[in-house]
């Protein structure tokens, strides 16, 4: 709103391009404009997870198995400023249950800092370094922002690594969805006839099957002994094999209405080929709808992947994803005893919420005159 006023001085009329109008409208959607930077931060954190995580995903702190989260303090008991630190954990044993207990030490603290030296890793598999963005100044000291799992691995680290898989997985899967949906929907709308009929019936077919059991069945039929990368790609293809129908419908509908437009007829008469007409003349006019549709389907993909992995039918350990991390919380007893194991769920919910907000903003923006 303020933008509009600034740009439009009295008596002058600016003709804004469609993208510009969309951007204005998008920025007006308050939730969406909050969501976009958060999504960016999440991708940054997870894509550079080696650097941002304090530990390594498979590194085990054998003394600190199932340790609850350690709270970060700035001031100690006496109220003197110490910089970021956590109290060291004193390990004891519950006299009744014989389970390990962790109590904050009164005296001993673990100093934390930025750009600390820790475990060695290869950043993106390229450069070997041991610098971590934030962590204990003394390598190997017990600092677990979100606690540890039953093997004493730092959960926060594993969440960041899992986020890399989960968040990239949805993009890869969307890419395949996009590929199938655009091709089949576009051709079905453009060619019509038998091809259209077949594609439409295929869509009916897929839509009449419940997606989760269908995913499960396809995932179950997937060979068991394959590499992590293959499993990742196969799973994303399975998701897209079921998810393309919505996009295909949108594309087909758009193409059908565009096919009759004059500018398309003109292009056809001037001898342009099918591919050229679709790519050059039709695609740009519904690109915004496709973007909206894609953003809208990201949350469903994230939820689908985590649900399947959670049930043990999607990505399998040792692959770390938010869904496989949540496999630890399948029983009420575990969750009650170790509630911090639910942290991956927080990340799932936030990312899905943010993508929903962004998708909502985009949907509004795609129709800038409304």
């Amino acid at each position: 709103m303020s933008l509009f006023k600034k740009k439009q001085k009295a008596g002058t009329y600016e003709v804004a391009s469609q993208w510009k109008l969309m951007w204005w409208k998008f920025k007006k959607h308050r939730l969406a404009s909050i969501a976009l930077p958060i999504i960016f931060i999440m991708y940054l954190l997870t894509m550079c997870c080696e650097f941002f995580s304090p530990s390594l995903p498979l590194e085990r702190y054998k003394k600190y198995v199932e340790c609850p989260p350690t709270a970060v303090h700035l001031w100690d008991h006496e109220g003197t400023f110490r910089g970021p630190f956590v109290y060291a954990k004193e390990i004891g044993r519950d006299p009744e249950t014989y389970r390990k207990t962790f109590v904050d030490s009164e005296t001993e603290i673990v100093e934390l800092g930025f750009f600390v030296h820790g475990s060695k890793y290869k950043f993106w598999g390229l450069w070997e370094t041991d610098i971590h963005f934030f962590g204990a100044k003394e390598p190997g000291a017990a600092y677990f922002l979100m606690g540890t799992d039953d093997l004493g691995r730092d959960l926060f680290t594993r969440i960041l690594y899992g986020g890399r898989i989960s968040l990239s997985f949805c993009l890869v899967s969307i890419f395949f969805t996009f590929l199938i949906g655009l091709t089949l929907g576009g051709l079905s709308g453009y060619l019509g006839g038998i091809f259209d009929t077949i594609v439409q019936r295929a869509i009916d077919l897929i839509m009449s099957m419940p997606s989760i059991p269908l995913w499960m069945a396809l995932a179950a039929a997937m060979p068991k002994e394959i590499s992590q990368l293959k499993q990742y790609l196969l799973m994303s293809i399975i998701m897209s094999l079921i998810g393309w129908t919505g996009l295909a419908r949108v594309v087909r509908g758009k193409i059908l209405s565009l096919r009759e437009e004059d500018f398309v007829t003109a292009a056809r008469l001037s001898g342009a080929g099918h591919g050229r007409i679709i790519a050059k003349h039709m695609l740009p006019s519904f690109l915004s709808y496709i973007i909206v549709s894609i953003t809208g389907s990201i949350p469903a993909t994230i939820l689908g992947e985590t649900a399947l992995s959670f049930l043990g039918l999607g990505l399998q350990a040792p692959t770390i994803s938010w869904g496989t991390l949540l496999q630890d919380c399948q029983t009420v007893e575990t969750v009650a005893a170790k509630p911090w194991l639910m942290f991956p769920a927080v990340f799932i919910v936030i990312s899905v919420l943010m993508f929903n907000f962004a998708g909502d903003g985009l949907r509004d923006a795609a129709d800038p005159y409304k």
């Binding site: 709103m1 509009f4 006023k5 439009q8 009295a10 009329y13």
Partner: protein, 345 residues
């Protein structure tokens, strides 16, 4: 116009304003409109799309979106065919209250541009007409149905006993508009507002519908507000004419004066743009240059000055022109009006 008495005014708009609060700014859809509707006469409102003519008619009904603000007075002098001692000010009524509801459909009715969309597709036209009748004149279902059938017959719908139970999609466009008119007139309103009632119809059907409105108006002594962008239709239908531009009345006079002595440059430009046989042979149409400005945050100047051939720098872009009564009953909103700069149409 001077021949008309003041006491046959049935509805009067005084400085009516309708503003919409949008995110982009304040949209002055209707900005200080005044005119009067006389008993049994037809007032034509003409203007390009977006000039505020439909919003004006909706304001008379008090049907505006929530973010619309209404100002000024809309005075109704007659209710249920009885002269009122003190006129009802519609602009001040609660938009959902019982008072305005009894006026809507009972004293003032409306026919809309697109008969396709104006009926609910899920209910028979009979259902929708009887509903109006039951609300205003006859609560008994059987009697209301008889009135509805009569109303359908009066708009020349054949076999109304059967048609009444049909759904809108089973009727043709012209038929639907007739049904719409039947519904609007079924409660014998004193004012009928027709918002571009023939725009969506075929040319032959258009003529029939216009004749029908004229006949019904004469029979029932109804006053009509006829909204259109078509000056040809105005000539055929109206007694008085209001020319609107950018939410303001720019010229207001009787129909003969408008066609033979137009004063405002905009009116003259409109008249020039009517395709006549002569122009068709020459193969040239004249159009008004430029487009209507976007009515948000407008500068203080004559709204037409950017498109006007007679605009005078330093005059027309410095302040808004006032409404001038150049002759009795002939109002013009132009700096040059009444200064002897009359040109031929």
């Amino acid at each position: 116009m001077e021949k008309q008495r003041k006491d046959d005014i049935i509805l009067e708009l005084k400085d009516v304003k309708v503003h919409f609060k949008l995110d982009e700014g304040l949209l002055k859809a209707v900005d200080g409109v005044s005119f009067a509707i006389h008993k049994g006469r037809t007032l034509g409102i003409v203007g390009e799309s977006g000039c505020g003519k439909s919003v004006t008619s909706n304001a008379i009904f008090k049907i505006l979106p929530k973010y619309g603000l209404i100002g000024g007075d809309i005075l109704l002098y007659e209710k249920d065919h009885k002269r009122l001692e003190t006129p009802i000010n519609i602009a001040k009524l609660n938009p959902t209250g019982p008072e305005i509801r009894s006026i809507r459909g009972g004293n003032i009715s409306m026919i809309f541009q697109e008969p396709m969309k104006a009926f609910s597709p899920l209910h028979t036209i009979g259902n929708q007409i009887i509903e109006a009748i039951q609300l205003h004149i006859e609560p008994d279902p059987a009697k209301a149905r008889a009135i509805a059938i009569e109303a359908l017959r009066s708009v020349d719908i054949s076999n109304p006993e059967q048609r009444i139970d049909e759904y809108p999609h089973q009727l043709s466009g012209g038929m639907r508009q007739r049904a719409m008119i039947a519904m609007a007139l079924s409660c014998k309103p004193s004012i009928l507002i027709a918002d571009e009632p023939t725009t969506a119809l075929d040319v032959t059907v258009q003529a029939q519908v216009l004749d029908l409105i004229n006949n019904l108006k004469r029979e029932n002594d109804t006053s009509v507000i006829f909204i259109t962008h078509d000056l040809g239709v105005i000539a055929e239908m109206s007694d008085d004419v209001v020319v609107m531009y950018l939410g303001k009345v720019v010229e207001y006079c009787d129909v003969d004066t408008l066609f033979y002595h137009p004063m405002h440059p905009y009116t003259r430009a409109l008249l020039k743009s009517i395709p006549t046989e002569d122009k068709i042979h020459k193969g040239r149409f004249e159009s008004i240059r430029g487009t209507v400005p976007y009515p948000i945050n407008l500068p203080v100047e004559c709204g037409f000055c950017s498109r006007c051939d007679e605009a005078e720098k330093g005059v027309c872009d410095k302040g808004e022109p006032p409404m001038v009564e150049v002759e009795p009953g002939h109002f013009v909103r132009c700096f040059h009006a009444g200064k002897g700069k009359e040109a031929q149409a």
